[in-house]
Subunit: 208 residues, 2 copies
Amino acid sequence: MENGCISPAVAARLPRYHRYLSALLENSATRVSSNELSSMMGVTASQIRQDLATFGAFGQQGYGYGVEYLHGEISKILGVDKPHRLVIIGAGNIGRAIACHGLKKLGFDVKALFDTDKKLIGTKICGTPVYAVASLSGYLKALGADIAVIAVPAAAAKSAAELVFSLGVRAVWNFTNVDIDAPEGGLVENVHLTDSIMTLALRLNLLR
Amino acid sequence: MENGCISPAVAARLPRYHRYLSALLENSATRVSSNELSSMMGVTASQIRQDLATFGAFGQQGYGYGVEYLHGEISKILGVDKPHRLVIIGAGNIGRAIACHGLKKLGFDVKALFDTDKKLIGTKICGTPVYAVASLSGYLKALGADIAVIAVPAAAAKSAAELVFSLGVRAVWNFTNVDIDAPEGGLVENVHLTDSIMTLALRLNLLR
Protein backbone atom coordinates (compact mmCIF):
# COMPACT_ATOMS: atom_id res chain seq x y z
CA MET A 1 0.00 0.00 0.00
CA GLU A 2 0.96 3.62 -0.48
CA ASN A 3 1.54 5.47 2.75
CA GLY A 4 0.26 8.59 1.08
CA CYS A 5 -3.22 7.04 0.94
CA ILE A 6 -3.87 7.24 4.68
CA SER A 7 -6.49 9.86 5.43
CA PRO A 8 -5.59 12.41 8.09
CA ALA A 9 -8.39 11.04 10.32
CA VAL A 10 -7.03 7.50 10.18
CA ALA A 11 -3.48 8.79 10.62
CA ALA A 12 -4.53 10.59 13.78
CA ARG A 13 -5.92 7.34 15.21
CA LEU A 14 -2.93 5.15 14.31
CA PRO A 15 -0.80 5.98 17.39
CA ARG A 16 -3.73 4.95 19.58
CA TYR A 17 -4.17 1.66 17.74
CA HIS A 18 -0.47 1.06 18.15
CA ARG A 19 -0.67 1.85 21.86
CA TYR A 20 -3.55 -0.55 22.51
CA LEU A 21 -2.00 -3.30 20.40
CA SER A 22 1.31 -2.87 22.25
CA ALA A 23 -0.55 -3.36 25.54
CA LEU A 24 -2.24 -6.48 24.17
CA LEU A 25 1.13 -7.83 23.02
CA GLU A 26 2.59 -7.19 26.47
CA ASN A 27 -0.27 -9.19 27.93
CA SER A 28 0.55 -12.02 25.49
CA ALA A 29 -2.77 -11.70 23.66
CA THR A 30 -2.60 -13.46 20.28
CA ARG A 31 -5.84 -12.21 18.77
CA VAL A 32 -8.40 -9.50 19.23
CA SER A 33 -11.82 -8.87 17.68
CA SER A 34 -13.02 -5.50 16.43
CA ASN A 35 -15.64 -5.65 19.20
CA GLU A 36 -12.97 -6.09 21.86
CA LEU A 37 -10.87 -3.26 20.42
CA SER A 38 -14.05 -1.20 20.25
CA SER A 39 -14.87 -1.55 23.94
CA MET A 40 -11.22 -0.93 24.93
CA MET A 41 -10.80 2.15 22.77
CA GLY A 42 -14.26 3.69 22.84
CA VAL A 43 -14.47 3.66 19.04
CA THR A 44 -17.24 1.80 17.21
CA ALA A 45 -16.39 -1.67 15.93
CA SER A 46 -17.40 -0.68 12.40
CA GLN A 47 -15.05 2.32 12.55
CA ILE A 48 -12.25 -0.01 13.60
CA ARG A 49 -12.97 -2.49 10.80
CA GLN A 50 -13.07 0.37 8.30
CA ASP A 51 -9.83 1.92 9.61
CA LEU A 52 -7.93 -1.34 9.58
CA ALA A 53 -9.23 -2.28 6.14
CA THR A 54 -7.70 0.90 4.68
CA PHE A 55 -4.27 -0.60 5.16
CA GLY A 56 -5.16 -4.12 4.16
CA ALA A 57 -5.82 -5.74 7.53
CA PHE A 58 -9.00 -7.79 7.42
CA GLY A 59 -10.19 -9.64 10.51
CA GLN A 60 -11.63 -13.11 10.12
CA GLN A 61 -15.13 -13.92 11.29
CA GLY A 62 -14.86 -15.82 14.57
CA TYR A 63 -11.12 -15.16 14.85
CA GLY A 64 -10.62 -11.43 14.74
CA TYR A 65 -7.19 -9.95 14.08
CA GLY A 66 -3.82 -11.44 14.89
CA VAL A 67 -2.37 -9.03 17.45
CA GLU A 68 1.26 -9.49 16.45
CA TYR A 69 0.50 -9.17 12.72
CA LEU A 70 -1.63 -6.07 13.21
CA HIS A 71 0.93 -4.50 15.54
CA GLY A 72 3.63 -5.20 12.96
CA GLU A 73 1.63 -3.68 10.09
CA ILE A 74 0.81 -0.54 12.05
CA SER A 75 4.45 -0.29 13.15
CA LYS A 76 5.48 -0.35 9.47
CA ILE A 77 3.04 2.42 8.56
CA LEU A 78 4.21 4.49 11.53
CA GLY A 79 7.81 3.79 10.50
CA VAL A 80 8.69 2.39 13.92
CA ASP A 81 9.50 -1.10 12.64
CA LYS A 82 13.08 0.19 12.36
CA PRO A 83 14.56 2.22 15.22
CA HIS A 84 14.75 6.01 15.12
CA ARG A 85 17.78 7.74 16.57
CA LEU A 86 17.09 10.69 18.83
CA VAL A 87 19.21 13.37 20.40
CA ILE A 88 17.90 15.63 23.14
CA ILE A 89 18.98 19.25 23.17
CA GLY A 90 18.75 20.49 26.75
CA ALA A 91 19.37 18.27 29.79
CA GLY A 92 17.05 20.17 32.14
CA ASN A 93 13.96 18.69 33.75
CA ILE A 94 12.08 18.04 30.52
CA GLY A 95 15.14 16.67 28.71
CA ARG A 96 15.82 14.33 31.62
CA ALA A 97 12.22 13.15 31.72
CA ILE A 98 12.32 12.30 28.01
CA ALA A 99 15.68 10.52 28.38
CA CYS A 100 14.20 8.43 31.19
CA HIS A 101 10.80 7.80 29.59
CA GLY A 102 11.60 4.36 28.17
CA LEU A 103 11.15 5.40 24.53
CA LYS A 104 13.57 2.72 23.36
CA LYS A 105 11.01 -0.04 23.63
CA LEU A 106 8.78 2.00 21.29
CA GLY A 107 11.57 2.15 18.70
CA PHE A 108 13.09 5.50 19.67
CA ASP A 109 16.71 5.15 20.69
CA VAL A 110 17.89 8.19 22.63
CA LYS A 111 21.60 8.37 21.77
CA ALA A 112 22.70 11.47 23.65
CA LEU A 113 21.72 14.66 25.42
CA PHE A 114 23.43 17.98 24.73
CA ASP A 115 23.74 20.85 27.13
CA THR A 116 25.89 23.90 27.85
CA ASP A 117 26.09 23.26 31.61
CA LYS A 118 29.61 22.07 32.45
CA LYS A 119 28.32 20.30 35.55
CA LEU A 120 26.15 18.05 33.37
CA ILE A 121 28.54 17.46 30.47
CA GLY A 122 30.23 14.09 30.89
CA THR A 123 27.50 12.70 33.14
CA LYS A 124 24.84 10.16 32.17
CA ILE A 125 21.10 10.52 32.58
CA CYS A 126 19.27 7.19 32.72
CA GLY A 127 22.27 5.67 30.97
CA THR A 128 22.39 8.27 28.21
CA PRO A 129 25.52 10.44 27.96
CA VAL A 130 25.40 14.24 28.15
CA TYR A 131 27.73 16.01 25.72
CA ALA A 132 28.57 19.67 25.12
CA VAL A 133 26.33 21.45 22.60
CA ALA A 134 29.58 22.53 20.94
CA SER A 135 30.18 18.90 19.93
CA LEU A 136 26.73 18.44 18.37
CA SER A 137 27.86 18.99 14.80
CA GLY A 138 30.59 16.37 14.87
CA TYR A 139 28.38 13.97 16.76
CA LEU A 140 25.50 14.19 14.32
CA LYS A 141 27.86 13.77 11.36
CA ALA A 142 29.37 10.65 12.91
CA LEU A 143 26.25 9.02 14.23
CA GLY A 144 23.30 10.51 12.48
CA ALA A 145 19.99 11.07 14.19
CA ASP A 146 16.70 11.72 12.53
CA ILE A 147 14.85 13.28 15.46
CA ALA A 148 15.96 16.04 17.84
CA VAL A 149 14.07 16.82 21.01
CA ILE A 150 14.16 20.55 21.77
CA ALA A 151 14.02 20.98 25.54
CA VAL A 152 15.97 24.19 26.01
CA PRO A 153 14.85 27.49 27.58
CA ALA A 154 12.39 29.38 25.37
CA ALA A 155 14.94 32.03 24.37
CA ALA A 156 17.20 29.36 22.85
CA ALA A 157 14.48 27.31 21.16
CA LYS A 158 14.57 28.76 17.64
CA SER A 159 18.34 28.77 17.35
CA ALA A 160 18.55 25.20 18.66
CA ALA A 161 16.01 24.06 16.08
CA GLU A 162 17.79 25.92 13.26
CA LEU A 163 21.05 24.30 14.30
CA VAL A 164 19.76 20.72 14.28
CA PHE A 165 17.89 21.22 11.00
CA SER A 166 21.06 22.67 9.44
CA LEU A 167 22.94 19.57 10.59
CA GLY A 168 20.58 17.22 8.75
CA VAL A 169 18.05 16.32 11.42
CA ARG A 170 14.68 16.07 9.71
CA ALA A 171 12.27 16.13 12.62
CA VAL A 172 12.03 18.22 15.76
CA TRP A 173 9.99 17.19 18.80
CA ASN A 174 9.48 20.58 20.41
CA PHE A 175 8.83 20.81 24.15
CA THR A 176 9.34 24.55 24.45
CA ASN A 177 6.42 26.97 24.41
CA VAL A 178 7.86 28.62 21.31
CA ASP A 179 6.35 27.99 17.88
CA ILE A 180 9.16 26.72 15.67
CA ASP A 181 9.01 26.89 11.87
CA ALA A 182 10.12 23.81 9.97
CA PRO A 183 12.31 24.32 6.91
CA GLU A 184 11.35 22.63 3.64
CA GLY A 185 11.71 18.88 4.07
CA GLY A 186 11.72 19.16 7.84
CA LEU A 187 8.92 18.91 10.36
CA VAL A 188 8.06 19.96 13.88
CA GLU A 189 5.75 18.16 16.31
CA ASN A 190 4.85 20.20 19.37
CA VAL A 191 4.17 19.26 22.96
CA HIS A 192 3.10 22.68 24.23
CA LEU A 193 2.67 22.02 27.94
CA THR A 194 1.53 25.53 28.74
CA ASP A 195 -1.12 25.48 26.00
CA SER A 196 -2.32 22.13 27.33
CA ILE A 197 -2.76 23.34 30.90
CA MET A 198 -4.39 26.56 29.66
CA THR A 199 -6.88 24.43 27.70
CA LEU A 200 -7.55 22.46 30.88
CA ALA A 201 -8.15 25.70 32.79
CA LEU A 202 -10.51 26.98 30.11
CA ARG A 203 -12.50 23.73 30.09
CA LEU A 204 -12.70 23.88 33.88
CA ASN A 205 -13.88 27.48 33.70
CA LEU A 206 -16.56 26.66 31.13
CA LEU A 207 -17.72 23.75 33.33
CA ARG A 208 -18.48 25.97 36.32
CA MET B 1 -19.93 38.06 28.06
CA GLU B 2 -20.98 34.45 28.51
CA ASN B 3 -18.11 32.02 28.50
CA GLY B 4 -20.42 29.48 26.88
CA CYS B 5 -20.46 31.60 23.73
CA ILE B 6 -16.86 30.90 22.77
CA SER B 7 -16.71 28.69 19.70
CA PRO B 8 -14.49 25.61 19.94
CA ALA B 9 -12.23 27.06 17.24
CA VAL B 10 -11.67 30.29 19.15
CA ALA B 11 -11.27 28.35 22.39
CA ALA B 12 -8.52 26.28 20.81
CA ARG B 13 -6.64 29.45 19.85
CA LEU B 14 -6.98 31.20 23.22
CA PRO B 15 -3.99 29.53 24.93
CA ARG B 16 -1.81 30.68 22.04
CA TYR B 17 -3.07 34.26 22.27
CA HIS B 18 -2.37 34.13 25.99
CA ARG B 19 1.14 32.80 25.37
CA TYR B 20 2.04 35.54 22.85
CA LEU B 21 0.51 38.27 25.01
CA SER B 22 2.45 36.99 28.04
CA ALA B 23 5.65 37.25 26.01
CA LEU B 24 4.74 40.81 24.97
CA LEU B 25 4.04 41.71 28.61
CA GLU B 26 7.39 40.27 29.65
CA ASN B 27 9.02 42.47 27.04
CA SER B 28 7.15 45.48 28.50
CA ALA B 29 5.11 46.05 25.34
CA THR B 30 2.11 48.26 26.07
CA ARG B 31 0.22 47.87 22.81
CA VAL B 32 0.08 45.61 19.81
CA SER B 33 -1.74 45.83 16.49
CA SER B 34 -3.60 42.96 14.87
CA ASN B 35 -1.00 43.12 12.09
CA GLU B 36 1.85 42.66 14.56
CA LEU B 37 0.06 39.77 16.28
CA SER B 38 -0.64 38.35 12.83
CA SER B 39 3.01 38.24 11.81
CA MET B 40 4.08 36.85 15.19
CA MET B 41 1.46 34.12 15.28
CA GLY B 42 1.06 33.20 11.63
CA VAL B 43 -2.68 33.88 11.74
CA THR B 44 -4.30 36.47 9.45
CA ALA B 45 -4.93 39.89 10.96
CA SER B 46 -8.62 39.67 10.10
CA GLN B 47 -8.87 36.33 11.91
CA ILE B 48 -7.29 37.95 14.95
CA ARG B 49 -9.66 40.94 14.87
CA GLN B 50 -12.61 38.58 14.52
CA ASP B 51 -11.43 36.30 17.35
CA LEU B 52 -10.77 39.14 19.74
CA ALA B 53 -14.08 40.84 18.92
CA THR B 54 -15.97 37.71 20.02
CA PHE B 55 -15.06 38.51 23.58
CA GLY B 56 -15.49 42.23 23.37
CA ALA B 57 -11.94 43.40 22.69
CA PHE B 58 -11.85 45.94 19.91
CA GLY B 59 -8.59 47.46 18.80
CA GLN B 60 -8.43 51.13 17.98
CA GLN B 61 -7.31 52.34 14.60
CA GLY B 62 -3.75 53.60 14.88
CA TYR B 63 -3.39 52.28 18.42
CA GLY B 64 -4.13 48.58 18.33
CA TYR B 65 -4.85 46.66 21.50
CA GLY B 66 -3.62 47.38 25.00
CA VAL B 67 -1.43 44.39 25.82
CA GLU B 68 -2.15 44.35 29.54
CA TYR B 69 -5.90 44.78 29.05
CA LEU B 70 -6.06 42.05 26.41
CA HIS B 71 -3.89 39.71 28.49
CA GLY B 72 -6.18 40.34 31.45
CA GLU B 73 -9.36 39.68 29.48
CA ILE B 74 -8.02 36.45 28.00
CA SER B 75 -6.79 35.40 31.45
CA LYS B 76 -10.33 35.86 32.78
CA ILE B 77 -11.84 33.75 30.01
CA LEU B 78 -9.22 31.05 30.57
CA GLY B 79 -9.92 31.26 34.29
CA VAL B 80 -6.27 31.94 35.12
CA ASP B 81 -6.88 35.39 36.60
CA LYS B 82 -7.20 33.54 39.94
CA PRO B 83 -4.66 30.86 40.80
CA HIS B 84 -5.40 27.17 40.40
CA ARG B 85 -4.11 24.72 42.98
CA LEU B 86 -2.42 21.61 41.63
CA VAL B 87 -1.25 18.39 43.15
CA ILE B 88 1.01 15.99 41.28
CA ILE B 89 0.46 12.27 41.74
CA GLY B 90 3.77 10.53 41.03
CA ALA B 91 7.17 12.08 41.74
CA GLY B 92 9.02 10.27 38.98
CA ASN B 93 10.70 11.99 36.05
CA ILE B 94 7.54 13.46 34.57
CA GLY B 95 6.15 14.55 37.94
CA ARG B 96 9.46 16.23 38.75
CA ALA B 97 9.57 17.99 35.40
CA ILE B 98 6.07 19.40 35.93
CA ALA B 99 6.91 20.49 39.49
CA CYS B 100 9.97 22.33 38.15
CA HIS B 101 8.33 23.79 35.04
CA GLY B 102 7.55 27.21 36.51
CA LEU B 103 3.78 26.88 36.18
CA LYS B 104 3.21 29.26 39.09
CA LYS B 105 3.84 32.34 36.99
CA LEU B 106 1.06 31.11 34.67
CA GLY B 107 -1.36 30.89 37.60
CA PHE B 108 -0.92 27.22 38.49
CA ASP B 109 0.34 26.78 42.01
CA VAL B 110 1.79 23.30 42.52
CA LYS B 111 1.11 22.62 46.19
CA ALA B 112 2.48 19.11 46.64
CA LEU B 113 3.63 15.89 45.00
CA PHE B 114 2.45 12.50 46.20
CA ASP B 115 4.35 9.25 45.85
CA THR B 116 4.64 5.80 47.40
CA ASP B 117 8.46 5.79 47.40
CA LYS B 118 9.68 6.20 50.98
CA LYS B 119 12.97 7.66 49.75
CA LEU B 120 11.09 10.55 48.16
CA ILE B 121 8.47 11.19 50.84
CA GLY B 122 9.55 14.11 53.02
CA THR B 123 11.86 15.58 50.38
CA LYS B 124 11.21 18.64 48.25
CA ILE B 125 11.35 18.88 44.48
CA CYS B 126 11.97 22.41 43.22
CA GLY B 127 10.65 23.65 46.55
CA THR B 128 7.48 21.55 46.49
CA PRO B 129 7.04 18.93 49.23
CA VAL B 130 6.57 15.24 48.48
CA TYR B 131 4.00 13.49 50.66
CA ALA B 132 2.83 9.90 50.95
CA VAL B 133 -0.07 8.94 48.66
CA ALA B 134 -1.74 7.60 51.82
CA SER B 135 -2.06 11.18 53.08
CA LEU B 136 -3.70 12.48 49.89
CA SER B 137 -7.26 12.31 51.19
CA GLY B 138 -6.59 14.38 54.31
CA TYR B 139 -4.43 16.79 52.37
CA LEU B 140 -7.03 17.47 49.70
CA LYS B 141 -9.74 17.95 52.32
CA ALA B 142 -7.60 20.47 54.19
CA LEU B 143 -6.17 22.38 51.29
CA GLY B 144 -8.33 21.71 48.29
CA ALA B 145 -6.92 21.48 44.80
CA ASP B 146 -8.83 21.70 41.58
CA ILE B 147 -6.32 20.03 39.27
CA ALA B 148 -4.39 16.78 39.73
CA VAL B 149 -1.49 15.84 37.48
CA ILE B 150 -1.40 12.07 36.91
CA ALA B 151 2.24 11.07 36.41
CA VAL B 152 2.26 7.53 37.77
CA PRO B 153 3.17 4.28 35.98
CA ALA B 154 0.54 3.20 33.45
CA ALA B 155 -0.75 0.36 35.61
CA ALA B 156 -1.67 2.81 38.39
CA ALA B 157 -3.14 5.54 36.18
CA LYS B 158 -6.85 4.69 36.31
CA SER B 159 -6.93 4.06 40.06
CA ALA B 160 -5.02 7.28 40.73
CA ALA B 161 -7.50 9.25 38.62
CA GLU B 162 -10.50 7.59 40.30
CA LEU B 163 -9.02 8.43 43.68
CA VAL B 164 -8.49 12.13 42.99
CA PHE B 165 -11.91 12.50 41.34
CA SER B 166 -13.53 10.79 44.36
CA LEU B 167 -11.75 13.30 46.60
CA GLY B 168 -13.29 16.26 44.81
CA VAL B 169 -10.63 17.16 42.26
CA ARG B 170 -12.45 18.27 39.12
CA ALA B 171 -9.73 18.16 36.49
CA VAL B 172 -7.01 15.68 35.67
CA TRP B 173 -3.95 16.53 33.59
CA ASN B 174 -2.98 13.08 32.40
CA PHE B 175 0.63 12.36 31.43
CA THR B 176 0.31 8.57 31.30
CA ASN B 177 -0.29 6.75 28.04
CA VAL B 178 -3.56 5.40 29.44
CA ASP B 179 -6.91 6.82 28.35
CA ILE B 180 -8.72 7.93 31.50
CA ASP B 181 -12.49 8.40 31.61
CA ALA B 182 -13.77 11.49 33.37
CA PRO B 183 -16.76 11.12 35.68
CA GLU B 184 -19.73 13.46 35.28
CA GLY B 185 -18.66 16.96 36.21
CA GLY B 186 -14.98 16.08 35.86
CA LEU B 187 -12.61 16.42 32.95
CA VAL B 188 -9.36 14.99 31.64
CA GLU B 189 -6.78 16.74 29.47
CA ASN B 190 -4.17 14.41 28.00
CA VAL B 191 -0.51 14.87 27.19
CA HIS B 192 0.07 11.51 25.50
CA LEU B 193 3.82 11.64 24.88
CA THR B 194 3.93 8.28 23.13
CA ASP B 195 1.11 9.25 20.74
CA SER B 196 2.95 12.48 20.01
CA ILE B 197 6.22 10.80 19.08
CA MET B 198 4.35 8.18 17.06
CA THR B 199 2.68 10.99 15.14
CA LEU B 200 6.10 12.50 14.52
CA ALA B 201 7.38 9.14 13.26
CA LEU B 202 4.39 8.75 10.94
CA ARG B 203 4.84 12.24 9.51
CA LEU B 204 8.53 11.51 8.99
CA ASN B 205 7.67 8.24 7.26
CA LEU B 206 5.13 9.95 4.97
CA LEU B 207 7.76 12.59 4.12
CA ARG B 208 10.29 10.08 2.77
